[in-house]
């Protein structure tokens, strides 16, 4: 252990200006990005879990010997826990480590299905870097198939937890570990093949990284690493933080259920302090840890995972969306943020063995939480809220009596931005894809009757929120439906006068008695012939809807994104009596009068953030449990 380090892993020495060859720097930076892509391609080619192959739920990371992440197209896990338990001076070439324990991985693994492999890179006998990959595997045991029980109260119900262990010693496989792992999953062959795929891909990446050190030498390559980290830090300081006035800003957002108590507001609080070149995020005030599985253990390694997870949100402050897309977020960003955690025992500082498998609720809210508090600091020049991950599906026996399970991740609308409307029906995970209806129908006993955007779901605004899905499935056999979703009552918030979007809702027997389900459902009954309607969240609106250009409202109505009723109610737009569905026409004089009347009837200062009606109802206790 480095005696100067505050942590059980080495800390990079402070240095002044880094001298680096500008040519080697470009080669090293380009090659790091390429190595990351090469490892991803290798995993994509050989992994077997559908969550990895089809939903693209896997991440690769390249790190220097101080556990600092060098690439930044995506988030990833971290090698710190491995280095904590296996000091680098004891590592040998050909060693490979595995882990998934949500409490013993320094905050880098959030739920158990994410098994993470780590490979050290050697140069002249010492460890100079780490290569890492984790994938969302289909099953690691626990009380339900898929290892994501919505009603888990402890980690023991969620599956097998693996603290950092060595699974290859100098190239020799530790068969005992694999024997134990395979005995603890419902899909032993698939899981062990996935692990092989990830390990081999990391080893290939390690050889490539080693090649860089051999070609350019350790001093030069490490100087390049530092320059790459510094570049990220400097872009954040010079281009993004500079847009935020020094001062303190506070906000809070909520998860609305935890699988065991429904509904209930679970608060995540944030206080942002901006001062010269630095942002301090204080999460004190966050609610106690939940009895259900929505806890997210983040208070490790100075919050390095949390920082790298939420920091990309600040890219929305870049001058243009094109510039934002160019900014890669690596460990350099940790020089810009400081996290103040609440004491142990909250939603983001839970104590073992609190369950964590639905931590994605808190994880996704943390993005909107930061976006919201920044919005307050920059007069709303941030995107309104989005919620784009939830799991819905069906299981039962098909007409031949064979069991089936279909699971799908449906996205939602994104929030309006000052420069554009929100996007319709998108997903936050890069390159994740929905299921074609023609595939669903071939494979499962359901028929897709409608695959559409939900009219009026996007929050009203000068820049409207994107629309969520409206998807209708007709069950062709008796079966059960499963749901794991947040934002079932609280809509995605609107910004700077924009309105909140419509929340998520699953309705069983939509053509009959229309039963509405809650957000964490492990198996509601569906009869043959009934239609299950899934409506996903619309994005929040941005800016005052009464100022939206009439031509845009007209187009929204022509295209059926906004109903004539909502155009009147939310946008103050009146249509002529002669209007038809195909050819609506705006009555401009009546519209001007209506807009003036609506403006007069509301408070003159529009709220920066609109949480929508659901929030008021939650506060008044008007929602019944739907579990």
């Amino acid at each position: 252990m480095n005696q100067h380090s505050r942590h059980p892993w080495p800390t990079a020495p402070a240095r002044d200006v880094v001298h680096v060859d500008p040519i080697v720097l470009q080669i090293v930076e380009g090659t790091l990005n390429s190595i990351e892509a090469e490892i991803e391609y290798a995993i994509e080619r050989t992994a077997r879990s559908p969550m990895i192959r089809e939903a693209h739920d896997y991440r690769v990371g390249l790190f220097d010997r101080y556990c600092r992440k060098l690439t930044g197209r995506s988030y990833s896990a971290m090698p710190n826990a491995v280095v904590r338990d296996f000091p680098p001076e004891t590592m040998k070439a050909g060693d490979v480590f595995l882990m998934n324990d949500t409490y013993l991985t320094e905050g880098s693994i959030g739920h158990l299905p994410d098994l993470c492999s780590t490979v050290p890179v050697f140069h002249e006998g010492i460890v100079v870097a780490y290569i890492q990959a984790f994938g969302h595997h289909d099953d690691v045991g626990g009380k339900v198939p898929g290892s994501m029980p919505g009603t888990a109260a402890t980690v023991f119900e969620e599956g097998m937890a693996i603290p950092p262990v060595k699974i290859y010693s100098e190239g020799v496989k530790n068969d005992a570990v694999f024997t134990i792992i395979k005995r603890n999953t419902r899909v032993p062959e698939m899981l062990s093949a996935d692990l092989d795929s990830e390990v081999q891909a990391c080893l290939m990446g390690a050889r490539r990284m080693q090649g860089l050190f051999e070609r350019f030498g350790k001093d030069q390559v490490e100087a390049c690493f530092q320059a790459i980290l510094d570049k990220c830090r400097d872009i954040y300081r010079n281009e993004l933080l500079s847009k935020i006035a020094d001062g303190e800003y506070a906000w809070e957002d909520y998860v609305e259920h935890d699988g065991l108590t429904d509904p209930k507001l679970h608060k995540i609080a944030i206080k942002m302090t901006k001062k010269a070149g630095k942002i301090v995020l204080d999460f004190n005030g966050t609610d106690p840890q939940s009895t259900g599985p929505i806890n997210w253990p983040t208070d490790y390694a100075d919050g390095a995972f949390l920082i790298k997870w939420i920091a990309p949100i600040l890219r929305n402050l870049a001058d243009t969306p094109e510039r934002a897309a160019e900014i890669h977020v690596n460990e350099g960003v940790c020089d810009v943020f400081e996290i103040v955690f609440p004491p142990k025992g909250t939603l983001i500082t839970p104590e073992w063995p609190a369950a964590t498998n639905a931590r994605s609720f808190v994880l996704l809210r943390s993005l909107g939480l930061l976006a919201g508090v920044v919005a307050k600091a920059v007069d709303g020049r941030m995107p309104a809220d989005q919620e784009t991950i939830r799991y819905t599906g069906f299981y039962g026996n098909d007409a031949d009596g064979k069991p089936f399970l279909s699971r799908e991740v449906l996205g939602g609308g994104s929030g309006g931005r000052y420069y554009a409307d929100g996007n319709d029906a998108i997903h936050i995970v890069p390159d994740s894809r929905n299921q074609p209806a023609e595939f669903t129908e071939t494979r499962f006993p359901v028929m897709v009757e409608k695959l559409a955007l939900s009219t009026d779901s996007g929050g009203a605004g000068l820049r409207r929120g994107g629309q969520g899905y409206e998807k209708h499935y007709r069950a062709l056999v008796d079966c059960r439906t499963i749901v794991t979703a947040d934002r079932v009552r609280l809509g995605c918030y609107g910004l700077k006068g924009g309105k909140a979007g419509e929340p998520f809702c699953v309705t069983v027997d939509a053509e009959g008695e229309a039963r509405k389900l809650g957000g964490l459902v492990d198996g509601a009954e569906v009869k043959k012939g009934q239609v299950v309607q899934v409506v996903t969240t619309g994005g929040g609106g941005w800016g005052d809807p009464l100022t939206r250009e009439l031509s845009l409202v007209l187009r929204d109505v022509i295209e059926g994104r906004v109903s004539i009723a909502a155009a009147g109610r939310d946008y103050g737009v009146v249509f002529t009596a002669a209007s038809t569905a195909d050819e609506p026409a705006i009555d401009e004089a009546a519209t001007a009068a209506k807009r003036a009347a609506l403006a007069k009837a509301r408070p003159s200062d529009l709220p920066m953030i609109d949480r929508g009606e659901g929030y008021e109802k939650m506060l008044r206790g008007e929602f019944r449990p739907r579990m």
Partner: protein
């Protein structure tokens, strides 16, 4: 003009953005001729015909001597990449009006981009997407009849709004096309001026979004191709009676009439010709496994040739549009001879993707740009001759050097102009090497077992260094490396592709049904080829099938056994699938998991007589450098011998450093590398460590 009895010239024309390349082969002698004319972007037909006349004039021949013309065009590609979307309509099944808006819900690139990314406009605005009632299940059983009233209303709506090109994509139409065909009839009655593309014709394959977009792209490019091919026909004048063939993305040609029935097949016509030419070289040179590197002014294209065949994909895209028809699998990066070296906002040196293009061009060009490009760097290092193609126009070395020196002065390290130029080239080489690694890893291939084939104007001056970076076994440079695409056009068979989706589980395979479907596809293929005048004796049919493990969604295409579809057929097909799955993904489930048959495909080929690549005449084997030039390497300038490629006899061997110059291209042999001229005049460059060298 000569008075020969039989027409003997076959002519390939590859129209690029700057130049139109023409290659002719004399069937009587095997002699090959090449030329280049400037492209005429406003009406590419003019440049095309000018080039043909030019090459005929050089051979003292006339229209009567021409046996056939084969053409690679970027008209469809450019329409897709740049074209303003002309008004299009789309007819879908009730409930699916938002198909295009939803797409596959993907946000491209990085994590967190979903907050600021702006979804591009759809191919058809929602207003012009119309629903019609009627529904099939996935087996093609009718659940609800077609609502003909809704179809008529839609047709009248399009007529009223003057929406002329209409795509029709109904649910499960690959399993039952009757509703789509009926929709087409009704629309034709109500609105005879409309051009229609039917998804059951363009892409009868499951996955409604990709099928709809592919169908719309077909409808979209139709008017462009139609207009273009008419213009070509008009310009051809006395050549109008000569067969005129167009290259398809799949690497086969078809007549213009055939192309106009399904114009989407030309989406990647141009690059496909280069890949086909490369495949011929791969075979002739004895390097059947190659990575091709085609470096132009703004970008470099890569393609994998395995066993002397270019890799095809049916999961490709052009720009943002998924185009799920068979096409040569090409990947592209934004590095070419015109790529600019510049300083980013953060003060870092960057090379590309910004490009000086052909206009203004690199700094060294007459009236060139004001920022140094890769070509300037090569020139400053002495690696390129100080004059443009053929020596006509002098290049301004001093200006290029000054530009690079000025850039160097803004960077740390006190670099000389030569040192920075070397660095610029090094960055470009690594970018190309990384791109090759990515594409080979995606297919589980080790690049060290492959050779590199370098062509295009900006390839061979750097590629031998890329070979070294990747540890590849050789870098080969074909004769006339600037004209390989046009040459490829002469080495291409007729091709027509047909497919149908029919999902069958291993336990429920209906062999009679398969036989019937293959027979129907084969009939379509033969009919298409016969329509183009191919005699039955020259038609070759290849059956393929897409299979997957039951329950998965990743199909693999394999060649299906010919002959009767019996138990042996099924065993052969399944065996081929397991093997292909292992090759593609590194594992198989033979004996563990059931398979599912998904698509049946038939490709029909009209086999042509390939031109033999002429061999060099041996002579006395003597050759000598035409002079020397100082060329800069790591340790400074070295007096380096210059060779004129035309003077190198077969079997000639040279140890680097050396520069080999020819019309339109320069090949650099780096110190300690070896080059050998093969019997066909192909340069084979080997690394220092190669045992095969010398």
């Amino acid at each position: 003009m000569s008075q020969t009895a039989a027409p003997r010239f076959r002519i390939g024309i590859d129209t690029g953005g700057t130049f139109t390349d023409i290659v002719s082969v004399d069937a009587a002698t095997g002699a090959m001729a090449v030329t280049k004319v400037s492209s005429t972007p406003s009406n590419p037909a003019i440049g095309l015909v000018r080039g043909v006349n030019d090459i005929l004039a050089r051979a003292d021949a006339g229209p009567a001597d021409v046996a056939g013309l084969a053409h690679g065009t970027t008209v469809a590609t450019n329409a897709l990449l740049q074209g303003g979307i002309e008004s299009l309509g789309l007819i879908v099944t009730s409930g699916f009006r938002h198909l295009l808006e939803i797409a596959r819900q993907s946000v491209p690139d990085g994590y967190g981009n979903s907050y600021f990314w702006v979804k591009p406009e759809r191919l058809v605005p929602l207003q012009f997407v119309r629903e019609v009632g009627g529904r099939f299940d996935f087996k093609g059983n009718e659940l609800r009849p077609l609502d003909e009233t809704m179809v008529r209303e839609a047709a009248r709506f399009y007529r009223k709004h003057k929406v002329q090109a209409i795509g029709i994509c109904l649910m499960h139409s690959y399993a039952n096309d009757s509703h789509e065909r009926r929709v087409a009839e009704i629309v034709a009655e109500e609105y005879p001026e409309a051009t229609l593309s039917l998804s059951c014709v363009v892409l009868p394959e499951y996955r409604e979004y990709e099928r709809a977009v592919t169908t719309l792209v077909d409808a979209f490019v139709k008017p462009y191709l139609d207009r273009y091919l008419k213009r070509v026909h008009d310009e051809l004048g006395p050549l109008q009676s000569v067969p005129f063939l167009v290259m398809q993305s799949s690497g086969g040609v078809a007549s213009s009439e055939q192309i106009l029935r399904k114009p989407i097949t030309t989406a990647l016509s141009g690059p496909a010709a280069g890949a086909l030419g490369s495949a011929v070289i791969a075979d002739v040179a004895g390097f059947p496994d190659l990575v091709t590197l085609d470096a132009g002014g703004t970008s470099t294209d890569f393609c994998l040739i395995e066993n002397a065949k270019p890799q095809l994909t049916n999961g490709g895209s052009v720009g943002q549009f998924p185009v799920r028809i068979p096409m040569i699998d090409i990947s592209t990066i934004g590095i070419g001879g015109g790529s600019i070296a510049w300083i980013s906002r953060e003060g870092h040196l960057k090379v590309g993707p910004r490009s000086a293009g052909a206009v203004p061009g690199p700094m060294c060009y007459p009236n060139g740009g004001n920022e140094p490009a890769i070509t300037d760097a090569n020139l400053v290092l002495g690696r390129l001759p100080p004059a443009l193609i053929g020596g006509g126009i002098a290049l301004d070395v001093a200006r290029a050097r000054a530009g690079i020196a000025a850039l160097a002065s803004t960077l740390p390290g006190n670099m000389t102009a030569q040192q920075l130029a070397l660095g610029i080239i090094e960055i470009a080489n690594w970018a190309q090497a990384n791109a090759i690694r990515q594409m080979t890893i995606q297919r589980g291939i080790d690049p060290r077992t492959f050779a590199l084939l370098s062509f295009g104007g900006a390839g061979p001056v750097q590629s031998p260094a890329v070979m070294d970076l990747l540890g590849m076994k050789a870098c080969i440079v074909p004769p006339n490396p600037g004209n390989l695409s046009a040459f490829g056009l002469l080495a291409v068979d007729w091709r027509t592709d047909h497919m149908v989706t029919k999902v069958m589980h291993e336990d429920a395979i209906d062999l009679a049904d398969i036989a019937q479907r293959y027979a129907a596809l084969e009939k379509e293929a033969v009919a298409n080829l016969e329509r183009d005048g191919i005699p039955a004796s020259q038609i070759r049919l290849v059956r393929e099938a897409d299979l997957r493990y039951a329950g998965q969604s990743m199909e693999v295409r394999v060649t299906a056994p010919a002959g009767p579809t019996d138990a042996g057929f099924l065993a052969g097909l399944t065996g081929a699938f397991h093997a292909a799955h292992r090759k593609t993904f590194g594992y198989d489930y033979a004996g563990q998991q059931k398979i599912e048959l998904v698509n049946l495909c038939v490709s029909g080929f009209g086999v042509i007589d390939r031109p033999q690549m002429p061999k060099l005449t041996a002579g006395d084997g003597k050759f000598a450098p035409k002079g020397t030039r100082p060329v800069y390497f790591d340790s400074g300038f070295v007096d380096t011998p210059l060779y004129d490629r035309a003077t190198l006899p077969p079997g000639a061997k040279i140890v680097g450093p050396a520069v080999i110059e020819e019309f339109g291209s320069t090949t650099m042999i780096f110190p300690k590398q070896y080059v050998e001229v093969d019997p066909h005049g192909i340069l084979v460059i080997r690394p220092e460590w190669s045992k095969e060298a010398m």
